[in-house]
Amino acid sequence: MLQLLWLIPLLPLAGFAANGLLGARLLPRRIVALVGCGSVLAAFVLSAGAVRELAGGRFTQPLFEWLPMGQTPGGSDLTVSWGYALDPLSAVMILVVTGIGFLIHVYSIGYMEHEPRAGFARFFAYLNLFMAMMLTLVLGSSLPVVFVGWEGVGLCSYLLIGFWYDRMFDEKAKMSCADAGRKAFLTNRVGDVGFVLGMLILFGATGTLDIQGILEGAGSIDPWWCGAAALLLFLGACGKSAQIPLYVWLPDAMAGPTPVSALIHAATMVTAGVYVTCRMAPLYLHAPGAMLIVAVVGGLTALFAAIIGIAQDDIKKVLAYSTVSQLGYMMLAAGAGAFTASVFHLMTHAFFKALLFLGAGSVIHAMAGEQDIRRMGGLRRHLPITHATFLVAVLAIAGIPPFAGFFSKDEILAGVLEMGGESGSPVALALWGLGILTAAITAFYMTRLYLLVFAGAPRMPEEKRHHLHESPAVMTLPLVVLAVGSALAGFLGVPEFIGGLPNYLEHYLAPIFAVSGHAAALTEQTQGGAALSEGTALGIALFASLAGIASAWAVYRRGPLAAGPGAAGPRGLTRLVKGRFYVDEAIDAVVLAPYRGLCRVAAAFDERIVDRLVNSVGAAADLASQLGRLAQTGYVRNYALVFFLGTIVVLVFVVLR
């Protein structure tokens, strides 16, 4: 099956071609759904077979020469071949992408049932294209191939956020779904500039674009260039994985249909930045300064987004900020050098966040489009399966044992404590504190979300209450499967000191992240001299989670907070958090307003000077022809006279010559 690696991205691409070209007119819905889901399922089966055969090694499959650009003057080979590579890291990724992707495809059949046939086919075509691009990103063996996938998933994200391009997304901000898609696309472009520049620096420094070649040569790169390349790649990762300051697009990406939010903006695409950071781990290990920045940005993003998440009233917005926060966690882990923990959390997060989004989709489906959690409540009785699976996901993300999030979060926090090989250094302790605080806040806002949606008395209008119904089996089955995953995925990475089970994931990924030997040596040093024993740290994290849940229970047990007596609206800190710290407004004022001013100047220059120049050329031609047409009277006699005079002139000339 390993030889069929090339088929894994190609199958969803074929599904995209079939549904995109024929789906809207020729194929019935049943076939569209079958093609859409079947291609992804086939990709999953192939992936599983390939990973099984790989057995922890490394397999490269060059397919064809893609960009035969020859040699640079410096003598390095600029020929890029299109090829795929499978190693333990990409193995974990393709299993997550195709596995969870397949479940979400199945779920979409139910969620999009009210969509007209053309829209239904378009939706599945885009989803399949996304899968193809995501698999290209994950499997690409050289940076340009990865970049094709990177841009491809960005395109699909744009297309799917704006899937309902004619609808309004945010009435207050006058933002349509198409605007939200554009915002995501443009924000990502900022990051992509960094990615391309980083790629160029690495090519200049190592003379190859092949990832394996770059990583092998990472040690010999000048430290400054190494740091610059790492930071530029991280800028790209910031865009894709929604880190400060480029996270603003992700909350607005919720304009897309909910399965899209689950697949692209929670489980897979947004983790691409984390994936690339982990992929380039040896490079980052040679740039400690860049790693520190990654860790700090990740930690701050985690805390910042979690705080905003407390005050959101839209069920999907809460989940969106939660995603930003969890991605911050992963970046924090990567920056701290705990790459295994980062990938572990990426995987468990894919399970429980996809489950949360799909559960939210099921709720929205039942509520006929209502997304405001203040108008929900008491859904426990009406949506039993959704409720049970959602509860599992909430416990998983809040970090309650034995659910998946507990183990991965603990791995991250343990990794942060040992950051840089100096266990318990002030920076590490500070970042660890950020992590603990975020864990508590995460538990708080997830419990709030759960209580407001499922517990308490129903707050929706009477007529909606009759409409409530559990979603069809095609939607609840993926929920159940994901719930099982969210509950059990954590056992793949049980920390050594708890014991009972070996830490499968760490052993599996060890060949990737121990490449340098350098990092391994660092972690060896730290044994024994820890500031906090792992058990204590774990206890503190668990206590933080429980405290978060308990305080949310105390505050939101009876429903949403009533407005304070006599208060015209939220004030002070509450208002700041409700307004999302006015980051969007600040970016608007600092970046977009000067840009618009520049645009106005350019437009004026274009109109007043460039256009006027071009127009005057036209006017000159016009004037000349106005003169010329005076000669044209239209009377035959005049023409005959001119003809006659001309003959005389010729005659005179001939005779007198």
């Binding site: 047409r629 044209q632 239209g634 009377y635 035959v636 006699r637 005959a640 006279l641 006659f644």
Partner: protein, 99 residues
């Protein structure tokens, strides 16, 4: 007779025809004036042919007469078409193609 007399008559005929083409407005008259100019040319050809004892000039006269017949046919057809549409043969009224 000397050839100069023939040439003088031909020049006279040509001038009459030329002036007629330039000053008259009736299409039929203009057509007749063109015939006059062609015949002046024919006369010149014949005169020179006679003078130089060559047949070339005579052959040319026949060509010119044939072409003139064809020209008259086409010209009259145009005039009839013009008259049918506009009820006039005044060429100053047929200036539609002017910008």
């Amino acid at each position: 007779m000397r050839v100069e007399f023939f040439l003088l008559v031909a020049a006279l005929l040509f001038t009459i025809g030329c002036v007629g083409v330039l000053v008259r407005r009736n299409a039929i008259v203009i057509l007749m004036c063109i015939e006059l100019m062609l015949n002046a040319v024919n006369l010149t050809f014949a005169a020179f042919a006679h003078e130089s004892q060559s047949m070339t000039g005579h052959v040319f006269v026949f060509f010119v007469m044939t072409v003139a017949a064809a020209e008259a046919a086409v010209g009259l057809a145009i005039i009839i078409a013009l008259f049918r549409r506009r009820r006039t043969t005044d060429i100053d009224d047929a200036s539609l193609l002017r910008w």
